[in-house]
Amino acid sequence: MFAQRPDPRPATVEVFVGDAALRVPEGSTAAAAVMLAGLPAIRETPVNGSPRLPYCMMGICFDCLAEIDGVANRQACMVTVRPGMRIAPQHGARAARMSA
C-alpha cells in the first residue's frame, strides 16, 4: 500500500477507485490511484484467478489492466488521471459489450 505526501505534492484531482472517491496529485496515473486507494488487487488473472497489483508501473508487465471509464483492459499505469475518472478492478477475462 502507498501513502501520499501532501506537502510537496498536493492532491488535487478527484477520481473514483471502485466506488470510493480519492484525490491524487496531477500527473498521477490510474495505477497510482489504485495503489493509493489501498485496493487489495487491481485484477484477477484470466488464467488462474490470482490477484494482482501493478508490478512495473512503466507499461512492461501488463499486470495493471483495469477498467477505466467503462473501457476494459486498459494499462492503468499508462493512463494519466483526469477529474472524475472511474477506475474499476477486473475479474478474469473482460466482457465485450454487444449492445454498444
Partner: protein, 380 residues
C-alpha cells in the same frame, strides 16, 4: 538432465523429415503402428506454418472441382474425435477439439448469392457421398451467433466444421510420439541423404540415420528435398496474417471461416492471402486494416477489443492449392506429404495416411493427389 540429442540409435523403421503438424501427425501414426520412428526437425526460428495457423478444422469450402479432396477432408473431420481422444488419454494434453459446425459470412446480397451457388455446386459434385449445408439468412443466423452486424446478409453453414488449438495439437502429437517411444530430434535439419529402393539414409545434427522408409513432411522444405528421393513437391510460400485479441468471456458458440474464439477466450481474426516470398517479419498495416474492417462489419462489438498480437506465417501451397501425397516410383519406401490445412487434415494424416505408409504403399485412390498431376497439365 534432459538431453534430447544425440540419438542413441541410428537405424529406424521410418524416418520422418519435418516436425510440423504434418510430420508430427504422420510420425505419431507410424509409431502407433509399431514402427520405430525418427522425427527430424529444424530449430527455434524455423519457418513453421504449424506454429502460426488459425486452428480451423475446415471442410465447407474444400475441394470444389476436386471431390476427392472434399472426401479426404471430410474423412479427416470424421477421424478428428478419435484422434483428439487418443491424444488426450495418452498425453493428458487436450487438443481442444470442438466441431459444432461452422459458418462463412456473406456481406451484401451479391456475396450471399455467390456463396449459395458455390455450396450448391459442392453438393452436386459430392454425388452419393452427400454434402449437407444450409444458406441461412441474417435474422436466423443471429440466433446462432450473437451480435452479428447489420451488413451481414446471411451465412453458409455445414455441420462438418470446427476448430482446435493448433498449439495444443502440436504439443500433444510431439508428447504422444515421444511417449510411444518415438525419437524426436530438433535442431536436426537434414543436410545430406542417399536413396535406394527401401533403403535410405539421411544426415542431420552430425549423425547419419538409416531406415527402409522415409517420409518428407518438411513443409516448404519439401520442394528442395523431394527430388533427392525421386519425388516432386512444387510447393511455394503464401503469406497469411492473423490478428489476436485479448481474452474475453465466452461469446462465440461456433467458428466462422475468418473469426473464431479460442478455448482460452481470445478472438482470432484471419485471413489474408498474399505473395510474400520467405518473409514472416514484415506485416502490412494495410492488410491488417482490411482484416479488422471485415471483422468489425461481421461483429461490430469486437471493435472495442484490444489486439494483443498479430503475425504472419507462410502457407505451404501447391500450384492448384490441393495437398500433395506421393510415393516414389524410383525409390519405393519414400513418401511425401504437403498440404495447406495441417490442422484439418491431422485426423487423416495420423489415422489413414500413416497406416498406408506403414504398409508400404499408398492406396490407389491416393494417386489423384500425386504431384504427377502437374506434369500432365504442363504436357497438355
Amino acid at each position: 538432465m534432459p538431453n534430447p540429442s544425440p540419438a542413441a540409435r541410428t537405424a529406424y523403421d521410418a524416418i520422418v523429415i519435418g516436425g510440423g503438424l504434418v510430420g508430427a501427425a504422420i510420425g505419431y501414426g507410424l509409431q502407433r503402428q509399431g514402427l520405430a520412428t525418427l522425427l527430424l526437425d529444424e530449430g527455434d526460428i524455423a519457418h513453421r506454418a504449424s506454429r502460426g495457423n488459425f486452428g480451423l478444422i475446415w471442410v465447407q469450402s474444400k475441394g470444389l472441382g476436386n471431390p476427392h479432396y472434399q472426401r479426404w477432408t471430410r474423412g479427416s473431420a470424421e477421424e478428428w474425435p478419435a484422434l483428439a481422444d487418443d491424444l488426450h488419454t495418452r498425453t493428458g494434453i487436450d487438443p481442444r477439439r470442438h466441431q459444432p459446425g461452422g459458418v462463412t459470412f456473406c456481406l451484401g446480397e451479391e456475396e450471399f448469392a455467390a456463396r449459395g451457388e458455390y455450396m450448391a455446386r459442392m453438393q452436386a459434385e459430392a454425388g452419393n457421398f452427400g454434402f449437407e449445408y444450409r444458406m441461412i439468412r441474417a435474422a436466423e443466423a443471429r440466433d446462432m451467433l450473437p451480435g452479428i452486424g447489420p451488413e451481414v446478409t446471411g451465412v453458409s453453414w455445414t455441420p462438418y466444421d470446427g476448430h482446435a488449438s493448433p498449439l495444443h495439437l502440436l504439443r500433444a502429437l510431439h508428447t504422444g510420439f515421444t511417449g510411444l517411444g518415438g525419437t524426436y530430434l530438433p535442431n536436426a535439419g537434414v543436410t545430406e541423404s542417399t536413396a535406394a529402393p527401401g533403403d535410405f539414409s539421411v544426415s542431420a545434427a552430425g549423425q547419419r540415420f538409416t531406415a527402409p522408409r522415409v517420409v518428407l513432411a518438411a513443409g516448404l522444405g519439401n520442394a528442395a528435398l523431394a527430388p533427392r528421393f525421386g519425388l516432386e513437391a512444387p510447393v511455394v510460400p503464401e503469406r497469411g496474417q492473423i490478428l489476436v485479441t485479448e481474452r474475453t468471456q465466452n461469446l462465440l458458440p461456433m467458428p466462422t471461416v475468418s473469426l473464431r474464439q479460442t478455448a482460452e477466450g481470445s478472438l482470432m481474426i484471419g485471413d489474408s492471402k498474399e505473395d510474400a516470398g520467405l518473409d514472416t517479419v514484415t506485416q502490412s498495416p494495410e492488410i491488417m486494416k482490411t482484416m479488422a474492417r471485415r471483422a468489425v462489419r461481421c461483429f461490430p462489438w469486437i471493435a472495442e477489443l484490444n489486439i494483443v498480437r498479430a503475425w504472419s506465417a507462410l502457407r505451404v501451397m501447391a500450384p492448384d492449392g490441393l495437398p500433395i501425397y506421393d510415393q516414389s516410383e524410383r525409390f519405393p519406401g519414400a513418401f511425401t506429404a504437403n498440404c495447406h490445412s495441417g490442422v484439418t487434415l491431422a485426423g487423416t494424416h495420423a489415422n489413414r495416411l500413416a497406416p498406408m505408409i506403414a504398409a508400404g504403399a499408398l492406396v490407389p485412390e491416393m494417386s489423384l493427389f500425386s504431384a504427377r498431376r502437374f506434369d500432365v497439365r504442363t504436357a497438355a
